[in-house]
Subunit: 483 residues, 2 copies
């Protein structure tokens, strides 16, 4: 068995090899890999794996060697996953080897996952792997899952378990929608009041700096980037509790109504606050991207406020409040690449060319139109709208997530290359740790294959079904679905 794996990401320009020792044996069963590799061919030749003799080994020519903590720890994780119920009672017969060749350590992680899925047990508990050759790479470079920790707090273990499951599905971006209107669980070192006053509970329902570091480290070891979102100027009700003066006071006639709207774009103190907050955030979350939100800004409150109206006049925005939102978003400028929700494109004129637009709404036709428009304007785009997986129906609905065709829109080949990937969104209105996992898996796996695999090779729902059933059992064994 030889894995040879080429991966697009270019974090490390090097070649890695490692090997597994196993034993030749008889012939029967071929298992599948989810998501489907770009090329897989296997024979009925079956080799027995002896858990007692099985080792992961760096080959002598590999640029990674023992001490590469990322792969060392991956080997430690995968051994018990591959030999789930091994009780040290098997004997070796003979031995062979498998090779995995990857351009980057991240690719090596994906290959390791594929290898683990090739191993299966017979009724007597013996482990087998068929002679197999795989060449693989992802179709899209951005394969994300969004968790919303504001509408319901998710304990750390629920996030870590989701990261585990993501890695088995070859997702590579954890989009952490960490704060929103209902609560502000991120414990900021610069502005501790944001969570002490804005979280559901100041001690139990927060993410400390240590928690965040743990999530990032856990994700990194599994080849997952952590994309933090601090959505503004809307969706910030909880921010106002710990940062008085940040939000726009809404007016009823000539007097303040006592309620608050989006961040006040007329105060220079708002920008000073945001700059300091994002200085911290971009340092705590080391990814080169940051998500700035920018969706669903309700202009009613801004319109009611005399200071905001005065600011509009002064800036020459007339009565076009989209110009005000545009102004606000521009002032957030950071030294990172921004991802924003599609609203920012729909309303605004000036957006930095490297900004990534995130499509979250519309009918299938509107989504196609949005894909065309954004890519025609030269911006990169992430598609989330078809994968709002928090929505549920009775029965099997994975098919609708599976049959999405992200590149099915009017545009040039060049435009199509601007679709960098897609994202499964698990909004938290009705989701907490009690129902997250069964709602997410294996439904998100359908999107996982769509984002990784060749579309033509995975066009049949009927062919996918038994493979998905099999993969679900694997997720059960890997203990990422609650039992």
């Amino acid at each position: 068995i030889v894995f040879s794996m080429a991966v697009f990401k270019r974090c490390y320009k090097q070649w890695l090899w490692f090997m597994v020792l196993f034993m030749s044996f008889s012939v029967i069963y071929v298992d599948a890999v989810w998501p489907m590799p770009q090329m897989i061919s296997s024979s009925m030749a079956r080799y027995t794996l002896n858990p007692r003799e099985f080792i992961f080994q760096y080959s002598s020519g590999s640029s990674a060697q023992p001490g590469c903590s990322l792969l060392d720890s991956a080997f430690e994780r995968y051994y018990p996953l591959i030999f789930t119920d091994y009780r040290a009672d098997k004997l070796s017969v003979c031995s062979g080897q498998a090779a995995l060749r990857a351009e980057t350590v991240w690719g090596a992680l994906r290959g390791l996952e594929s290898f683990s899925q090739l191993v299966y047990q017979d009724d007597f508990g013996e482990y087998f792997v068929n002679e197999t050759e795989i060449e693989d790479f992802p179709r899209f470079q951005f394969r994300g899952i969004l968790l919303d920790t504001s509408r319901h707090y998710l304990p750390l273990h629920a996030i870590l378990k989701t990261l585990d499951a993501m890695s088995y599905n070859k997702f590579n971006v954890f989009h952490w929608h960490i704060v929103d209107d209902p609560s502000f669980p991120y414990q900021s070192s610069t502005f501790p009041d944001l969570s002490s006053k804005g979280a559901f509970h100041p001690l139990t329902h927060v993410y400390t700096q240590i928690d965040v570091k743990r999530v990032i480290a856990h994700a990194r070891l599994r080849g997952i980037r952590v994309l933090a979102e601090f959505d503004s100027p809307g969706h910030t009700q909880s921010w106002g509790k710990g940062q008085p003066g940040l939000l726009t006071p809404c007016y009823k006639g000539t007097v303040p109504s006592g309620t608050f709207g989006p961040v006040n774009p007329a105060n220079s103190s708002s920008y000073q606050f945001m700059t300091r907050l994002f200085k911290e955030v971009t340092s705590v979350f080391p990814d080169s991207y940051v998500h700035l939100g920018g969706d669903e800004v309700d202009f009613t409150c801004w319109k009611s406020n005399p200071d905001v109206r005065g600011f509009m006049l002064k800036m020459g925005f007339g009565t076009d409040y989209t110009k005000l939102e545009s102004y606000y978003m521009e002032k957030l400028g950071l030294n990172k690449t921004a991802i924003v929700w599609q609203d920012v494109f729909d309303y605004h004129e000036k957006i930095p060319v490297d900004t990534v637009l995130h499509i979250w709404k519309g009918s299938p036709g509107q989504i196609q139109q949005e894909l065309s428009s954004i890519t025609l304007a030269g911006y990169r785009v992430i598609l989330a709208a078809p994968w709002y997986i928090n929505h549920i129906d009775y029965g099997q609905d994975w098919e609708k997530y599976y049959t999405i065709q992200p590149l099915n829109f009017t545009g040039t080949e060049q435009q199509k290359t601007l679709v960098i990937g897609g994202e499964v969104c698990m909004w938290g209105e009705y989701v907490d740790a009690t129902n997250l996992s069964p709602r997410l898996w294996p439904r998100a796996s359908a999107a996982g294959e769509r984002l990784w695999s060749d579309e033509k090779m995975t066009s049949s729902v009927i062919d996918a079904f038994p493979r998905l059933v099999d993969f679900r059992c694997r997720l059960l064994r890997y203990r990422v679905m609650l039992i």
Copy 2:
């Protein structure tokens, strides 16, 4: 605080008392009980409970005394539920007592549950109970939950945990839909092949006699009856695997097609088999009721089979296959009271007067009509149709379970008394241990209150909502929802 509790069930004609010691203190907060008691009045007078001094005690006049294993074990269960995070670090201040008076041990269990729900903690971890008087009894005597262990196997711990949650909701019947078409997990001592050939796995996906005993014992300690269903003559595909000759061979023209239909009603061996099986079943499941199923019999296969057609001729049934099903159901006669699905009423003429009909289908109008017809014919009825809780939608749907009015149909007062209760059904097409709990709770709690409480006192969804939210938190603390 005095609980005085009268319960309809007449298993024991006696009075029980026991007491709790506690400490008088200050005034603030009143917690609610779910489902709503028939009468509850409480004051703002608040007493501190000292976990170190708190004891359950039988009063000297009680007919139950130490050694009553049912209540002794209930005391042991409820102490850690009431004092969830007690770490033996509290001091006593003074003491008082609460009394619970119940006609039966089962009533005492319900009262104990209500008492546990009155206890709450303040921010400093101190336990309180307000001065409260409750008089309570259930509106309906049959308050059931159906679990389907055939379409997906449910491991024992999932069943036991459901029983725990049922007791917190004051449900009192576990309807165990133990076998069906997909699998036969019940390990019969008389016919071991039924599970060794008909279960999903002969060793891991079965319920042994010991498992069944454990379920029954666990349920009994929580005041829950176990109603076993062995559904026939339809829904028996899995039975055929371990009992060749039991099912009707379907014909295509003049030759057997290789597929099988319902139990073969033309063979005397079928009745001999059923008699022997039910002899075992009625002994293993000691409840005085047994569920015989009788739903959704597809006559196509019977019609295709020449032997069945010959039998119809011989019996003078003409072409009316409902007469054949009727004949079959009658021949099952047992020394227990039968519960059957409504189909048996819809199709049949002769049904023993003590049979209970189980309504599972139809539009709201059809359900009302069915309630009228069945009770007019003098039969007792259980309402399940509005509570098919395996069906899910996005968002809050507990309201529709809550606002069901089981007695809202045309009929005399006498007819209304024949509605003995209702049942929440969790069919297993898409349900296994990974999603059972979050799908069941707190949605089934809405039905729980409908079946226990006074309808007028619990008519408002708006009033119920904060109480249900609070009760859900309690279920989380009691660890019956997976976290």
